[in-house]
């Protein structure tokens, strides 16, 4: 069993102090990635490039640059553009696509001294909840390799859970950071919409997508957020408001905070062990001086249909550029229409094509009002649900998914059942509010010991409060064991 990564602040400090080199930390991450190759986590690892970048960090550290993430190895989801490094989105159509630029979030992490060791596997174009929609094979959950790591940021969650890297970036359109974090027993933060630039994130649902960190600890997620957040002239939807230092208030405790338990999130279909994890956490919050009360988000049941209309409408347009003409895979055909049709049919997987068709239909003449427009109205109601709830509480606590990690193949035959796995996470994206998943405990589920997380949601821009509550839960929970992979095999 490999030693767990220290806190990234400590790791970076040790590189700045030259107790160890960035080259060593990156080499460790690379070694671990090859040791766990069978988990299918990475789509692309470029050892030479990563080691070069690490040596450059060592030189910058020596020159006295202030590098808050000096030598921190990171993994990034493969729908985030990396300059000169393939970015496939888990899709055949972008199999050979190499962007000429870095996503803003990645550029900021690299400026801070972090080193990208690899690109992680995902559901194709981030469309999925199990990572099984990748064109390049599924990721296995490090806790039980017969189970899904969650999706769509499954590779990023598994990379952190397996101890390969202390930090990974994911993207969250309807729960794609939070649900895999819960399935793999890591921390996962979906920031407020507009907190982190989307520049360089290959769009799925532009009004829902947000980039965020997956980490071992709440403090690490807070550190990463301070670096990736903030205005970007290349993203008009990214807020220019100053970003508070969310690491400062972490230790503040929960005394006096009002925490809501949304009853719609704890009803039927929630696995008892998952519900129990939420009550355990709520009890500790109460013991810490928080006032815990039940609240209602009455339009929750409409979140899934509204989400799958808005997200697929936006996706149908966002993915139109993958037409085989300007870049990406092109099928050879004798005329333009057939070139489009064949390139897209051969290049895009079944779930992606399903969502493009759904979105195209919903935006079509005669259907717009019944689908897109109505979904946008529901979205307003859901946003209002949160606004009303946050008049009486500072944050909400809920499960992140109805069950612990399900088995690979268990839900692939029924897309609707798969969509319902997102029921506890999509509302935050529709409303734009932040969500944080923190591992709570291990439970026995279908004969396996699996992690269960709890989800915290708060008002827009309330990351500092969520991280503070999450940190409190983490501190009062005690250490969780590392996943059995490596040790057992």
């Amino acid at each position: 069993m490999t030693a767990p990564w220290p806190q990234i602040d400590a790791l970076a400090a040790s590189v700045r102090n030259r107790e160890r080199s960035a080259e060593e930390t990156v080499r460790t991450a690379l070694e671990r990635s090859s040791a766990h190759e069978d988990l299918g986590i990475f789509l692309h690892v470029d050892e030479a490039r990563a080691l070069d970048a690490a040596r450059a960090v060592d030189r910058r550290a020596l020159e006295g640059h202030d590098l808050p993430l000096a030598g921190v190895p990171i993994a990034v989801k493969d729908n985030l553009c990396t300059r000169e490094v393939p970015t496939t989105c888990g899709s055949r159509i972008l199999e050979n696509f190499i962007p000429p630029y870095d996503a803003t979030a990645i550029a900021r992490l690299q400026d801070a001294g972090a080193v990208v060791v690899g690109k992680t596997n995902l559901d194709e174009f981030a469309m999925g909840s199990s990572n099984e929609n990748s064109a390049f094979g599924s990721v296995k959950n490090p806790w039980d390799t017969t189970r899904a790591p969650g999706g769509s940021s499954g590779g990023s969650a598994a990379a952190v859970a397996a101890g390969i890297v202390p930090v990974a970036l994911g993207s969250d359109t309807g729960g794609s950071i939070r649900q895999p974090a819960a399935f793999c027993g890591t921390v996962g933060l979906k920031p407020t919409y507009g907190r982190v630039s989307r520049y360089g994130l290959v769009a799925f649902g532009s009004s829902l997508d947000q980039i965020g960190p997956l980490t071992n600890r709440v403090g690490d997620a807070a550190r990463v957020l301070t670096i990736i957040a903030g205005g970007d002239p290349r993203d008009a939807t990214c807020s220019n408001d100053p970003v508070p230092d969310v690491t400062e208030a972490l230790e503040g405790g929960v005394e006096g905070l009002r925490i809501g338990l949304p009853k719609e999130y704890l009803g039927e279909g929630i696995e008892p062990s998952v519900r129990e994890a939420v009550s355990d956490a709520a009890e500790r919050l109460a013991a810490g001086g928080a006032q815990v009360r039940e609240v209602s988000l009455p339009h929750t049941s409409y979140a899934i249909p509204a989400y799958y209309v808005v997200a697929t409408c936006e996706a149908s347009s966002n993915l139109a550029r993958f037409d085989g003409i300007h870049y990406g895979r092109r099928a050879v055909a004798s005329d333009l229409a057939t070139t489009y049709e064949r390139s897209r049919t051969e290049g895009l997987g079944a779930e992606v094509r399903r969502r493009i068709l759904l979105g195209t239909f919903a935006l079509s003449a005669g259907h717009y009002d019944a689908y897109y427009d109505r979904a946008m109205r529901v979205r307003t109601l859901i946003r209002r649900d949160f606004e009303l709830a946050f008049e009486s509480v500072d944050a909400l606590i809920s499960p992140a998914g109805p069950t612990p990690a399900f088995r690979l193949g268990e839900k692939t035959q029924d897309p609707l059942e798969m969509y319902l796995a997102d029921i506890l996470t999509v509302a935050a994206n529709l409303a734009g509010v932040p969500g944080l998943v923190v591992p709570e405990k291990l439970v026995e589920f279908e004969g396996a010991a699996l992690p269960v997380g709890v989800q915290l949601m708060g008002p827009m821009w309330s990351e500092a409060t969520l991280l503070r509550i999450g940190h409190y839960l983490e501190r009062t929970r005690g250490d969780l064991p590392a996943p059995p992979i490596g040790g057992r095999s």
Partner: protein, 481 residues
């Protein structure tokens, strides 16, 4: 299809015409990305990851394009939206790298404008909205086609008129006046050859007196106003003959074939795309503040038709003169600055529109590149008016003004083209002339006024052309009492 014949008899039809003009705005960068907005140069050199439609790139709206759109709105006396947003127009074509064009559907930047024609009729403007241009697909006829994305993403303002025009000449007048306005407002070079101004025309006809519109066709691929006029005329005649034959006009998009001088069907309504417009989630709605509008309003120049009316009120300036002068805002500016020095509107107008334009044309210059400051031309006009130099000498001076920075008075001396207008200086020569030509003097005395020309000629010869003929004539009359 052959050119249909105009109706010989029967119901009288009235054409109904509406026009969409796409004008490229002369911003520094493209509509949603910092790539440069320039014309020409190698294919795909004026691009960047956004222009190429690479995944992960995002649009950020160009403020300068908004400012220019507001200028146009104010020039058209239109309402400027306080709240405006962008929408996606989805369709597939190789010149459209994202698979959608960012445009504005229901909340355009400006709407409800007016454009007056010369006869006072007002053409209503429905709206003008911002969008990004597509690239250019080039079909070689071989087995490959090429795409140049230099043009992709250049800001376009689409100006949509109401169907208020009733004839092809009226439609062309609208186009000409709109182009004039856009050039006055300095929002575009409006060069149709470069494609920076393009128009699509909707044509329908209806029995005169009827209110409901007939079925319309839209004509595309109009490369000049002349082509627009011919194409509209062709469509009017075609619709008329279709209706007279008892058939129905089919709603369609037509292409104008410049060589054959006829339209052909590009696509019918059934074949047209469903653009699936929806609000672009990458671009938050824009609020246009009153103070921004007022800031722009302060920069709006006098509109061409208002200027024409003002120039028309000057002494000696005809409607035609005013029309010529305002065709180019720089010419009108030049005229007014020259007039301030010369004090003679008609003479200044003539010197500019005949002499200066002639010299400019010879040398391939325009009014701003000719290098002659308007005040200098004004001085020249005044020298001619004061008799310091004759009109022939003045033309020589004008030519000499090219390429020097000498003032006209100095050039008159240098070229030796100055006139003698001093009566005292000329009187002796005129006396000599009269003495030398007694027969002519008799003729003059006998009432043959034209005979004086011979005396003037003698004096001109003697003075090597420097005598002011007016002064000489005056002296002849005085001396022969």
């Amino acid at each position: 299809m052959t050119d249909p014949q105009p109706p010989a008899s029967g119901i009288e039809y009235e054409p109904v015409i509406g026009i969409e003009v796409h004008v490229q705005l002369r911003t520094h960068s493209k509509m949603f990305t910092p790539a440069p907005n320039t014309y020409g140069e190698g294919p795909n050199t004026k691009t960047d990851p956004y222009t190429l439609g690479l995944p992960g790139t995002l649009p950020v709206a160009n403020k300068e394009a908004f400012t220019l759109a507001i200028r146009v709105g104010l020039g058209l006396d239109a309402e400027i939206a306080s709240y405006t947003k962008f929408d996606r127009k989805n369709y597939f074509y190789p010149d459209l790298p994202k698979g959608y064009q960012i445009s504005q559907m229901d909340l355009p930047v400006t709407s409800n404008g007016k454009l007056p024609l010369a006869n006072g009729k007002v053409i209503r403007i429905n709206r003008a909205h911002l969008e990004e241009d597509a690239g250019k697909a080039m079909h070689t006829g071989g087995d490959a086609s090429f795409v140049d994305l230099n043009r992709a993403g250049i800001p376009l303002l689409e100006i949509v008129s109401e169907a208020d025009m009733r004839s092809a000449p009226e439609a062309v007048e609208y186009l000409e006046r709109l182009k004039l306005l856009l050039r006055y407002l300095d929002v575009s070079d409006c060069d149709m050859e470069k494609g920076s101004l393009r128009c699509d025309v909707n044509v329908s006809i209806r029995p005169k007196g009827m209110e409901a519109f007939g079925t319309r066709t839209e004509i595309k691929n109009l490369n000049s106003f002349k082509a627009a006029e011919k194409a509209i005329g062709f469509e009017i005649r075609r619709h008329t003959s279709v209706l007279q034959a008892g058939d129905e006009v089919v709603q369609a998009t037509m292409l104008w074939d410049e060589d054959k001088e006829q339209t052909r069907v590009m696509r019918t309504k059934e074949e047209s795309a469903d653009y699936r417009y929806f609000p672009d989630p990458d671009l938050p709605p824009h609020h246009i503040s009153d103070s921004w509008v007022e800031e722009v309003r302060a920069t709006i120049p006098e509109l061409p038709w208002i200027r024409a009316a003002r120039l028309r009120s000057l002494d000696g300036i005809t409607e035609y003169d005013a029309g010529v002068l305002i065709q180019d805002r720089a010419v009108a500016d030049f005229f007014e600055q020259a007039l301030a020095v010369s004090g003679d509107a008609k003479a200044t107008c003539n010197w500019i529109t005949s002499e200066l334009f002639g010299v400019m044309k010879e040398r391939g210059h325009d009014i701003t590149s000719c290098g002659i400051p308007p005040a200098r031309l004004g001085e020249l006009v005044r020298l001619v008016k004061d008799g310091i130099v004759g009109s022939g000498g003045g033309k020589k001076v004008l030519h000499a003004m090219y390429g020097t920075d000498k003032d006209p008075a100095a050039l008159v001396d240098e070229l030796g083209v100055g006139q003698i207008s001093d009566e005292g200086a000329l009187e002796a020569i005129v006396r000599q002339a009269l003495e030398a030509n007694p027969d002519t003097v008799s003729d003059i005395k006998a009432g043959k006024k034209k005979a004086a020309g011979a005396i003037v000629g003698w004096v001109m010869k003697e003075t090597k052309g420097s005598a002011n003929p007016g002064t000489v004539n005056k002296l002849i009359r005085q001396l022969l009492g």
